[in-house]
Amino acid sequence: MHTQPNKLLWHSAFVAILLALALAIQASSDRINYQWNWHRVTPYILNTEPTPIFAEQNGNIIENAQGQLLFESESGDQRLDLSQFEQVMVSEGDTIFEGDQVASQPQWQFGPIIQGLGVTIEISIYSLVFAIILGLAFGLMRVSHNIVLRNLAITYVEIIRGTPLLVQIFIIYFFVGTVLELERFTSGVIALAVFTGAYVAEITRGGIQSIPKGQMEAARSLGMTYLQAMYYVILPQAFKRVLPPLAGQFINLIKDSSLVSVIAITDLTKAGREVVSGSFAPFEVWFTVALLYLLLTGSLSWGVQRLEKRLAASD
């Protein structure tokens, strides 16, 4: 039991370093006289401001037989029961003009940061699905004996890996997107999927080639076609081996998705930029955004680790 006190010591050292880092952040923000105002960020995450209810036409406030306040338009063709709202801001006999606030309704609403998070999740999931399809297809083409298929796959992978994602996003948005009249969200998904697909293709190829040749031979000698052997024998084994690099690639995908903000998709990063200018709390906003990305990537790698454990059954 010699290691016990030692371990404790090292864990304490780790915690101490983290604390020191936190203090350093605090001290440096003090030096530039930064006022931390976390409460300024919260409305952008979860908005609890009551929604105002506006009159849609000119009209009057009347009371009906049950003593409830109603808004009645001048022409009499529109009536709005005001008793359904929590807070009524008018009283009987008031004259109302179009656009006046008559009541307000308390409610919960996700702020722009959470909406941006939603867009990031959505764009990541779509891109992920298409990246897997592209990566699998081109990975299989890459190991195929057909020269046309193999060269197509090599060309795709080399072009995509040899150019920056930001440039690819611009090309797809301004060129492909314009020619095919795509929405910006679709352009973003295509750019991310095509980019990640090239890396998935390389991972797939590596996985397939890491399976001993005898597996394919055994499968073929039993009468399986090449594709059957791939599907039932090679790919399931390759999948297990490529899971860790694949997970790394998907984590990159989530992070890379922040680049689509350059084509005005309001993802988490773009939402962060917008909120910074409205809230005057840049540090808090960017720390929040970073934390939310960390939450996404963290849950993904946690999920993959669990999958790995389950697949380890046959080892």
Binding site: P212, G214, Q215, E217, A218, A219, R220, S221, L222, G223, M224, T225, Q228, Y232, V233, P236, Q237, K240, A313, S314, D315
Partner: protein, 250 residues
């Protein structure tokens, strides 16, 4: 087609040449005929082309010239479906090549279900019968990596038999085994021979050849030099290369 073949010649190799892409001339004008129910053992020094010959018989290697007829079907006829032909030719490898992501039962059941498209219940019954036959019924739910080499090779034999082939090819099935496990695999092969299976066996087990083989082939440098019954092969070899080979291994 092939299943209806009633003739006696199960394998006919005619002037087969195999040149690997690197220029290695692995088979040089090899001709042999193997009859229904025959057990033929192939011996020869390492690199003489034994594996290559065996692998041309189910087209794991294509040939450069000559022709091969399996179970009445010309392998290189344009109308021949090679996958269908392979269903009739089981193969057992030196390195077992079991599917490590599937348990023993699933290894045996995979091909009959996905290739022969037979119903699961029927295939499961067949697989269990075969696992009893190779003495591994109690290992049904083990994964290959948890089995000994001898056990893995017996599963591999059961897996090949599950396609109910008419021919079985064995490429040094006991060479990767610890000595104490060689017997259990040879016993399974002997019982298969006794049931009348047509077998081509590449092996260094001369005892097996003497006891079970109907004929023994000797290969060297890609050529088939001797094709004879085991008695004259081992007791009265006339070919000087064979004499030299036998003197080295005994």
């Amino acid at each position: 087609m092939t299943r209806d073949y009633q003739g006696d010649d199960m394998i006919i190799a005619n002037n087969v040449d195999k040149i690997y892409p690197n220029g290695c001339h692995a088979l040089n004008q090899v001709s042999a005929t193997i009859k229904r129910g025959e057990v033929v053992v192939v011996v020869g020094p390492s690199g003489s082309g034994k594996s290559t010959f065996l692998r041309t018989l189910n087209q794991l290697e294509t040939i450069n010239s000559g022709n091969i007829t399996i179970d009445g079907t010309d392998m290189y006829d344009k109308k021949t479906d090679i996958n269908q032909l392979r269903e009739e030719v089981g193969m057992v490898f030196q390195s077992f090549n079991l599917f490590p992501h599937k348990d023993v039962l699933a290894n045996v059941m995979l091909a009959p279900m996905k290739v022969a498209k037979r119903p699961k219940a029927e295939v499961e019954q067949l697989a269990k019968k075969l696992l009893i036959k190779v003495g591994l019924k109690d290992r049904m739910f083990n994964y290959p990596n948890n089995l000994s080499g001898g056990q893995q090779q017996r599963v591999a034999i059961a897996r090949a038999l599950a396609m109910e082939p008419n021919i079985m090819l064995f490429d040094e099935p006991t060479s990767a085994l610890d000595p104490e496990m060689v017997g259990e695999v040879l016993d399974v092969m002997k019982s298969l021979a006794a049931e009348g299976m047509t077998m081509v066996v590449v092996t260094h087990e001369m005892g097996f050849a003497k006891e079970v083989a109907d004929r023994v082939l000797f290969m060297e440098s890609g050529q088939l030099l001797v094709d004879s019954d085991p008695e004259s092969f081992f007791d009265n070899p006339t070919n000087p290369r064979l004499q030299q080979f036998l003197s080295m291994i005994i």
